[in-house]
């Protein structure tokens, strides 16, 4: 079975909600929609306090080339356009809407009917995706229309769909593959048409055997299912390309250099809904889980719903909860503010007990080199850690810190419990700043 070439680890996957059907969460009383839910420039707000909006009304227009539209996920009145604290307690521009009824914009097809035919051409498809404000829903939130616009000089050869979901606990993509398999396959064909390619691989890890079986039985027309060996971080874009077509993205290069375009399963489903049903990105699937949660679920929620409401919907926070994490346990962010809203990139809410998550005391590095063999990018985490600790940021550049994908394999394996990634992440950010200021000087 295929997998990526170096590093990574195989651990327990804790997929508690893999067999639980997606549940629709009721429309909340109030939503907070951030104007920057994607990588790139924030959207520009085009509503004011007191405005009436419907579900699907554009409330923020893309603020640049790398940016995305933001739509209202509810119908009601805008009560505030002031900044609101996000999960980390940092205030960000947002639109707060009080809900009145559930009125959708005209032209949005809310039926469950499958529309298999798409007669649009490549440009029209990308425009529709751009209008719908679709971003990468695996967590990176890169605007999808930018990813589908192939830069001049490059050529797309195939589409790789990321159904890996290698983060422990999360099952949102798994459930979408099972419940919306026909829509996924139509979505794949739409993206293939947009890219002008005729091959598509859907990479799925072997712990989702039912999804592999179901999609394999239905796939046709250039789409093939690639079962992958279970190994974290296979869902990383570079690792997935390596695992599926055995090509490597060069250091500092874009994935398109290998001829592959990677899209997440959730994104493919959102693209299907945007192109075939005119539905902008106003809902997403969120796995709300944890070993001690009384009733973990996969929930379909409106973007902007408060995370505390999601937690209440699964039976509340267990008493022994130490951390509430936005995302998976390997790359998610611990939240200090659970009143923060769901965004386009919220793939899961995870509640971990102190025993599972509180770090043990750091010890001295024993040079065991476990971090070096765990690094999927072939870096030397122990060295980067030391350089960052001593603030030798210029030296980190030559050690390729910018290749780091922040997957956390190094800190996961470290027997001395060193905060390797904590320091490497800071060092990477500082190194990026140095590189940027040098480019500006030139």
């Amino acid at each position: 079975m295929k997998t990526f070439r170096i590093g990574g680890f195989h651990g327990k996957d804790y997929k508690l909600t893999g067999d639980r059907a997606i549940e629709q969460m009721p429309v909340p009383d109030k939503v907070v929609i951030f104007l920057s839910q994607h990588i790139g420039a924030p959207a520009v707000c085009n509503v004011a306090k007191g405005d009436k909006v419907n579900v699907g009304t554009l409330i923020g227009k893309a603020g640049g080339f790398v940016s995305a539209n933001i739509h209202s996920s509810v119908s009601g009145t805008v009560v505030s356009v002031d900044p609101v604290a996000d999960g980390s307690g940092i205030k960000k521009p947002a639109v707060t809407i009080e809900v009145e009824g559930d009125q959708w914009e005209e032209g949005i097809d809310r039926s469950e009917n499958l529309i298999p035919e798409c007669n649009l051409d490549s440009k029209e498809i990308i425009d529709k995706i751009s209008d719908a404000g679709i971003v990468g829903m695996g967590g990176a939130t890169f605007p999808t229309q930018v990813k589908l616009s192939i830069p001049p000089g490059s050529k797309a050869e195939c589409l790789i769909v990321n159904g890996v979901e290698c983060e422990p606990y999360l099952t949102a993509d798994h459930r979408v593959m099972l419940e919306k398999s026909d829509e996924i396959l139509v979505g794949c064909k739409i993206v293939m048409k947009a890219l002008g390619v005729d091959t598509c691989y859907i990479g799925i890890e072997e712990n989702k055997k039912d999804a592999i079986k179901l999609l394999s039985s239905k796939a046709d027309g250039g789409i093939s299912i690639v079962p992958l060996r279970m190994r974290y971080p296979q869902g990383g874009e570079k690792q997935l390309i390596d695992a599926v077509i055995n090509r490597q993205v060069p250091s500092g290069g874009l994935p398109i250099a290998t001829g592959a375009v990677v899209q997440n399963i959730g994104t493919i489903f959102a693209i299907y809904e945007a192109v075939q049903k005119n539905k902008p990105l106003v809902e997403r699937i969120v796995t709300v889980t944890g070993c001690y949660v009384s009733n973990p679920k996969n929930l379909k929620v409106r973007i902007g719903t408060s995370i505390s409401e999601l937690i209440a919907a699964v039976g509340g926070e267990p008493d022994n909860t130490a951390k509430v994490i936005n995302g998976g346990p390997m790359m998610g962010r611990a939240m200090s503010n659970v009143e923060a809203p769901v965004t386009k990139g919220t793939s899961g809410i995870l509640m971990l007990s102190a025993r599972d998550t509180v770090r043990e005391k750091e010890q001295a590095c024993i040079s065991c080199a476990k971090c070096v063999s765990a690094c999927p990018m072939g870096l030397e985490p122990y060295l980067l850690y030391k350089l960052s600790y001593r603030r030798l940021y210029p030296d980190m550049e030559s050690e390729k810190v910018t290749d780091c994908i922040e997957c956390g394999c190094c800190a996961y394996t470290c027997p001395a419990h060193l905060p390797l990634l904590d320091y490497i992440r800071v060092g990477k950010a500082e190194t990026m700043k140095i590189i940027k200021s040098r480019q500006i000087k030139k």
Binding site: S336, L352, T357, I366, C375
Partner: protein, 312 residues
Amino acid sequence: MRVISPSPHLHGPLSTEILMRDVVIALVPAFIFTVVTGGLQALFVTLVSVASCMLFEWLINSYFFHRPNSLTDWSAVITGTLLAFNLPQSIPLWIVVVGAAVAIGIAKMSYGGIGRNIFNPALVGRVFLLISFPVQMTTFPVQADAYSGATPLQFFKFVPNAASMTPDNYLMDLFIGFVPGSMGEISALLLLLGGLYLIIRKVITWHIPVFTLGTIFVFTGILWLINPEIYANPLFHILAGGAILGSVFMATDYVTSPMNVRGQIIYAIGIGVITVLIRVWGSYPEGMSFAILIMNAATPLINKYIHPKRFA
């Protein structure tokens, strides 16, 4: 109160204590074999060695560095056990204490403790004793049958025409352990079993042992093919002396070996070559410990210039 930390929020099952404890467990079969065949002397030597290593580490930590004791990380136990494995069972116990003092005090704690040392502490202790007490360090109790108390390597080095005098079942005896020698030299079979355990538990990777032993085998094999009258059988070189103990347990010491597979291969080949050079042309019958110490010194250089295989 809510706990906040950067990702990752999970940690794997590994810890320093577990890794170090596994090394000690891997040494147990060979230890029991020596005690059963060689008597209680081996037990005493090991106990004294481990106890004094732990004592010195505790003393230096509490009264010199004024920091909490680090005995729970098992590293002092490993140093003590490995030191004992490098000593003849008949050695006076006070010499063992001196060796432990050098191993922990000079080779480990003077660099700042666990993780900071450049040289393998147990080997520094052993080499110090070998140079300071050459007679006690090279006198072995007579065992099994008559190879006159000399270790196989000593026998080969100092007896003329040794190659033609060895009996047919000699290699088998070496493999199982019916020969004189220090504890770690005796049973190749059980040491290999320990090594296998370490590889299965993912404490070490196969690269260093295989490349070290492979280099010794190839190098001595070439010599043997040139003139089997003078040079010993390559299998003999692998089974005799500390080749297996050294390559499986000492050369793989985390702190003093290179940080990536490419570097580890260079390091292992270096150890193999130097070992054979000393064994065949040097003045000592055994060269494993010197070879490892020399390559320990080269480790920082290897780490600086040899990088792991990058993703792209």
